[in-house]
Symmetry: C2
Subunit: 360 residues, 2 copies
């Protein structure tokens, strides 16, 4: 079995390492894995080679995909289109192509537009939450993480099973989704937090008082703004390929902040002109409820996250049974969410994606 | 020397522990420290007693401050007024009173209104960045942190020196500031990040897709929203006593987000109706610059923070020389920032505090 990875960054490298470990297992030995790597930058190939990740490296993406059973495109989103154009005529009929990009509608559209019908495309996105380069590649990077998968229209069930199986080999949990849903949800829980952090940094960093403020800023500021500190190239691509979903969420975030602003005004001991007002005129109940709601929501999320992580640890890197995988496929293929809409159709006019939030 | 602490939470307890350690030093032994603790809740006193923090505990705040040379009020902000009313007639002439609250204008105003002129009040705020209860009290909590100090009008220099010295005993760096400056700066780097996090959690938590989103949310969401997970009582008090500064910063944050939104629209591969547009019509340069600026600002801040922390570690808990302390006092007493304005005067009409940011 030949698996080729195009794009040797943290994700491509970590997948490679996970597969190398798998190759030593009984199943892996039976599969007789050959791992081929390509990156447009020679430096990345040299680093991967130094780490002993791939069996061989090729000079072009065309050479990399030749006779490959599975091709994993792990480049930045905006490089996917060119990669598909490069490899399309060199893919073996029956090959499976997947990717690891952070936004999915655009990648699915490019796959539909450019890849031959003789191959199966399954979009993928590991929710591994880390920005770093290949030097930090780690075979356990995906352990216990949710790995979103998206099937192109008409894709063969065997292809889904193969990619689902690969994901479990990486130690992750396959999670089938609709691309528009994926892009809206990740805009909310991943892209917006990054942008909120970047906005916070630029706000305070461009203010006259920043020199003194920066002395006062502590661990709270550090954690809240951590995402803004790196991965700019990746996030730029994310913003470009998910601009409409992101803008929808920024608009709703602004509404939240306006609501919060009003509650602070009601609770405050100062009036709108900054003059002290009597404590009896301050109404803190609404603000208190708002802040408690947030703390409780976050606490519940943390608890369920820890629970699923410790369940994961307890079971080791357990593979889902084929029955579990099948029910997952069933949801995707026949579930109401998936059959209700398709990316590029009725969702296109809804910048919020398929599930606009229910505003309080 | 008798030091009384009113309010036995994380801060009061940690100060107590730091002072108990100091009491074992030569200087501490010479001072013959007696540490007195009071909390309105018996449970807090019992916990502090179990940890062996104080020499004795009193039944009332009036008893606690009797014959005390230094009184440290470490209650929530909104409890300070009542505390001042309780203790005002029981303070020894010449006593020094300080506090540890997160907002300072209101506390300074209450001190001016309520405390007798026979005592010296110096406002204090350790930038220790942690919310927890007394069980987590730690004598090293303040090690290397910036500890903001604010002098009431006409306070004696000896009082400033004593409080400055205490702060260095806690292992922190005294930093003299104007109260309005303090409240505006902390609104930007502490209160706004908390509120931005709470807004983010309530936005996604109230959306229809939260059940699925919560599966996808990972370490990025976790860190960005960490502040929203606790300390609600403290943050509620902060919002009430700093409402005007905070609202000013929320307004400016909204402007930042609008700017960012426009840049994403320009860079996006989707138009305002969510329809794909040709890549040639997408202009990512502005967004790229914005994100790079944020990453660079944060990187510089992190670097200077790490530098000052390792300088701190290299020097141990070095006390500033009296010359250093004096130059600090000079800045406060005669520096242009401080003499330009006074809290309660011309800043009251400026919700941004003294230094409105310079918008890009």
């Amino acid at each position: 079995m030949r698996i080729s990875i195009i794009g040797l960054g943290l994700i491509g490298g970590s997948i490679g390492l996970a597969l190398r470990n798998w190759a030593k297992t009984e199943e892996g030995q039976a599969a007789n894995l050959e791992l081929v790597g390509f990156d447009a930058k020679g430096k990345q190939k040299a680093l991967a080679d130094k780490m002993g990740i791939f069996h061989r490296y090729t000079a072009t993406p065309m050479d990399a995909v030749k006779d490959a059973d599975v091709v994993i495109v792990a480049t930045p989103v905006m490089a996917v289109r060119d990669t598909f154009e490069d490899i399309r005529e060199h893919l073996k009929p029956g090959a499976i192509v997947t990717d690891t990009c952070s936004t999915k509608r655009q990648v699915m559209a490019w796959a539909k537009e450019l890849l031959p019908t003789t191959v199966s495309f399954v979009g993928g996105h590991p929710m591994a939450g880390k920005t770093a380069s290949i030097e930090k590649a780690d075979p356990n990077l995906f352990k216990g993480c949710t790995y979103c998968l998206m099937a192109a229209v008409g894709v063969k069930e065997e292809a889904l099973e193969t990619v689902g199986r690969l994901v479990t080999i990486f130690g992750a949990n396959p999670y089938f989704m609709d691309p528009a849903e994926h892009d809206s949800y990740t805009a909310a829980i991943s892209h917006l937090p990054f942008l909120a952090a970047a906005g916070l940094v630029n706000l305070v960093g461009s203010s006259q008082g920043w020199r003194e403020m920066s002395r006062l800023a502590s661990t709270g500021f550090q954690d809240t703004t951590r995402l803004a500190g790196g991965g700019i190239a990746m996030h730029l691509d994310v913003c470009r390929t998910n601009s409409d979903s992101i803008i929808g969420w920024i608009d709703r975030y602004q509404q939240q902040l306006s609501e919060l602003r009003d509650l602070i005004e009601q609770a405050g001991l100062f009036d709108e002109l900054g003059r002290p007002k009597p404590e009896s005129l301050s109404e803190p109940a609404g603000l208190e409820k708002y802040l408690k709601d947030a703390a409780e929501t976050r606490e519940r999320w943390q608890a369920s996250r820890q629970m699923s992580q410790s369940a994961e640890q307890a079971s080791g890197v357990e593979m889902p049974t084929s029955k579990e995988l099948r029910s997952n496929y069933t949801r995707m293929l026949f579930g109401s969410l998936f059959t209700r809409r398709r990316p590029g159709q009725d969702d296109q006019n809804n910048p919020a994606g398929p599930n606009p939030p229910d505003h309080k």
